[in-house]
């Protein structure tokens, strides 16, 4: 039996290709996994989600090939289940305290319960960071695991700060927020002893995203400008505070431009929503390309050649399959209704018919919504993963040959919290 030269013999390793990362998964196998998972989710009311999430990750990781070697996901569903149960044990007292405070302290209690939302948002960001740590420490490549340092608490503080900035600037701060948070995450990400870092520039993303932002938010700015220029707001406010029956007519009398502004505002909202929907895949592709081009591990540098058309293709397939699903659901519901009518004719009990109609309606609702989420996973999510990694060009791959192991497996409580708070990722 012959075998190749040992250790660092360069002849044995194929020459470094321009795009060394491949996705080797069979889409049919992935769809089988997703559809089976959706059925089991429905009949177990969601308990199966820990197993489905683990299966999906195992599939994606195992079929992601970096320079001839695939990733390995070592997490288990039981870990996720335990993490979720621990998170529930932590959250229930918090919910109970908020509830009791609202009840027993009158207005102060209501103020405190108003604080519960930001508190949960904070906890959500905390959970996102901890969950990322779980996923990284369960990712093994060439016998060495990834890991993550850094305080989840600090991350949550930064994330909440940046989300507030995003809200205050109507989204303009988003690129800088992303750059800052990704720097935080990657600075604390390690492959063995090899530290990561993020070199994407927030300003560059800002410049690229600005035209899209103008197309989506621009109509609103235009409306506000029109409103300020044409309407006499003090007159309108005075009339509105006086009230009465013929208010609309009197407003028109006091400030002739008022209804023009209303029409402009409605048109602007429609244009904005349409623009947001049309541009969303382009935005996603742009952000992913920007992010994937900024990741560094030592001398290893990535550059993404992701094409926007690939993401549009995935969304079009999502819409097409979604339409087919709706048609299938309508046909099935029609057949079910016909069968029902025949059965009711036999029994002549209208209340049974009504109960059956409701149960049938709920079944079709669950069928359609679960179907859409499955189709989304199978088209858009898979495309983002697959094209995201296959479009990567990598320089300095040889640093991966001599990385020392480091880091230890972390608990799944973060994943559990993220699950209980509904901020889960993959």
């Amino acid at each position: 039996m012959t075998f190749l030269e040992a250790t660092a013999a360069p002849a044995s390793v194929p020459a470094v290709p321009a795009r060394p990362v491949h996705f080797t998964g069979n889409p049919h196998a992935y769809w089988r996994l997703l559809i089976r998972g959706a059925v089991l989710l429905a009949i177990t009311l969601g308990i199966y989600r820990f197993w489905l999430a683990t299966d999906i990750r195992r599939f994606l990781w195992a079929h992601t090939d970096v320079n001839g070697e695939s990733l390995e996901y070592t997490g288990t569903a039981v870990e996720l289940l335990l993490g979720f149960l621990i998170a529930i044990a932590l959250l229930v007292p918090i919910y109970a305290v908020f509830f009791l405070l609202t009840l027993s302290m009158g207005p102060i209690g209501q103020f405190i319960s108003a604080l519960s939302l930001p508190a949960l948002a904070f906890l959500g960001q905390y959970a996102i960071y901890r969950a990322r740590r779980y996923r990284l420490t369960r990712t093994v490549f060439r016998g060495v695991r990834f890991h993550q340092t850094g305080s989840a608490f600090r991350y949550a503080v930064c994330a909440i700060f940046w989300w507030m900035m995003i809200a205050l600037t109507v989204g303009l701060a988003y690129p800088f927020a992303q750059a800052s948070l990704e720097r935080f995450k990657l600075r604390n990400t390690y492959y063995g002893n090899l530290a990561g870092r993020f070199e994407g520039s927030g300003f560059r993303l800002f410049l690229r995203g600005l035209p899209m932002w103008l197309l989506v938010v621009g109509p609103f700015l235009f409306t506000i400008a029109v409103a300020i220029a044409t309407v006499d707001w003090t007159a309108v406010a005075e009339l509105a505070s006086r009230g009465g029956n013929d208010l609309p007519a009197r407003i028109e009398g006091a400030s002739p431009g008022f209804y023009v502004v209303i029409v402009v505002a409605i048109t602007a909202s429609v244009v904005s929503v349409a623009m947001a929907a049309i541009l969303f895949p382009a935005f996603q592709a742009m952000t992913l390309r920007w992010w994937a081009s900024g990741v560094r591990f030592g001398n290893l540098a990535t550059h993404s050649r992701l094409r926007t058309g690939q993401i549009y293709g995935a969304y079009l397939r999502f819409l097409l399959y979604g339409l087919l699903l709706l048609i299938a659901a309508a046909v099935l519901a029609g057949i079910g209704y016909a069968v029902l009518l025949i059965l009711i004719g036999a029994t002549a009990r209208p209340e049974i018919a009504e109960i059956a109609t409701i149960i049938g309606g709920l079944i079709s609702y669950v069928f359609v919504m679960l179907g859409f989420s499955t189709i989304y996973q199978g088209t858009v999510k898979l495309a983002l993963w697959r094209h995201g990694i296959e479009s990567l060009e990598i320089e300095g791959l040889d640093v991966l040959d001599h990385v020392e192991a480091g880091g230890a497996a972390s608990s799944a409580v973060g994943e559990g919290l993220a699950d209980a708070l509904n901020v889960g990722g993959f």
Binding site: M1, L4, L40, L41, Y365, A405
Partner: protein, 368 residues
């Protein structure tokens, strides 16, 4: 003895070792290119890991490092599979384990649904009387502003509550007369706080803590004082039975069972919502039926006509498009009317007019 090429990572670094793998009878022997023995793994300690489809990826159970051996040679992989019981290349063992998981998960689901259907109502039934009335009143005070804000969809110019304007005062006085008659007969442990509100739909609701909202739509639909009184009596039944508190406890329990415990999955907890809807409707049918019976008895006590409840129910239900909401919250109207009439038949009571004609006219204009 099968043998072949493999790739070995020793778990201390990411360095790739091209190795020879010997499937010896007792253990898997992993030899480096220079012939040194890098590792020797007994077959019963082998662990099969997830990898690409054409790769057999192995580790050693309980190993302190993440050492990995990868075999791409199909013949060698087959030989290892034969020798090691833990290696599961066809995935049969994994499938069997997964079927067990699915079985248990399904059993857990069935048990949770049974707890929701039978255990939770039984628990709530025993808990509700234990909740002090003062707490119930505070609960109502906390819930009431939110419900009011939710119901108040009218324009900001007019008051949501009827009976405050000068022209409406007479209507409010007539309502107060009717209410004091009913409250006296009901002898509730907590005072009622009844208001007529400006909403077009024909409905009335009771909240924890004695709050009763009568919608103006109902006042205009009622043809006699007895009809209006019978609906209010039904709501007083909810207050007397502490149904508001009970349904709050039930909702909290259900949210906990299905929302928190089972959590959400992509798509927004749909199966959970579906099951909750069905379970909640099964609770509310019993509750409505017993509030009807209470209303019948209260109406008889004040000398009103208990059958008026059936009459106004049929009129409202007939006027509303048949929809999920009405059905879910209230048992079949025909069955309800039949039960109301049957309960009336066994009662003996003396009829008295509840309001005179002028008072009733005023009451009908309580919202102007």
């Amino acid at each position: 003895m099968a043998s072949g090429a493999g790739i070995f990572y020793d778990g201390t670094s990411s360095e790739r070792h091209q190795v020879t793998v010997d499937a010896a009878p007792d253990a898997l022997r992993i030899q480096g290119a220079d012939g040194t023995l890098l590792a020797q793994w007994p077959y019963n300690e082998l662990q099969h890991l997830s990898a690409a489809d054409d790769v057999l990826r192995l580790s050693r159970i309980n190993s302190p490092t993440l050492a990995r051996l990868e075999v791409r040679d199909p013949a060698l992989a087959l030989a290892i599979d034969d020798l090691a019981g833990t290696v599961d290349r066809t995935g049969r063992t994994a499938r069997r384990a997964r079927h067990k998981v699915i079985g248990w998960a399904f059993a857990a689901t069935v048990s949770l649904v049974l707890v929701a259907l039978f255990g939770l109502p039984a628990l709530v039934e025993r808990l509700t009387p234990l909740i002090p009335l003062s707490l119930e009143q505070r609960l109502g005070a906390a819930v009431e502003p939110q419900v009011r804000a939710m119901l108040n969809t009218g324009s900001s110019g007019t008051a949501f509550e009827c009976g405050t304007a000068e022209a409406e005062k007479a209507g409010r006085a007539a309502l107060d007369k009717l209410l004091s008659l009913m409250e006296g007969a009901a002898s509730l442990p907590i005072p009622l706080k009844t208001v007529v509100v400006r909403r077009r739909d024909s409905n009335a609701i009771a909240l924890p803590g004695g709050y009763v909202y009568v919608f103006n739509g109902l006042v205009t639909k009622a043809e006699t004082p007895d009809e209006l009184a019978s609906v209010i009596a039904h709501e007083i039944g909810h207050v007397a039975h502490r149904d508001g508190t009970r349904s709050l406890l039930q909702a909290a329990g259900l949210s906990f069972l299905f929302g928190m415990l089972l959590g959400d999955f992509t798509g927004g907890g749909l199966a959970v919502i579906a099951v909750k809807t069905i379970v909640e409707s099964s609770y509310s049918r019993d509750v409505e039926a017993s509030a009807d019976l209470y209303a019948v008895r209260l109406m008889a006590r004040i000398g009103g006509d208990p059958r008026a409840l059936g009459a106004i129910l049929e009129r409202i239900q007939g006027a509303i498009e048949p929809g999920v909401k009405i059905f879910l919250d209230h048992p079949e109207t025909k069955a309800r009317v039949a039960a109301i009439n049957a309960a009336t038949d066994v009662l003996q009571f003396e009829r008295k007019p509840l309001l005179d004609a002028a008072e009733w006219r005023a009451l009908r204009r309580v919202c102007g």
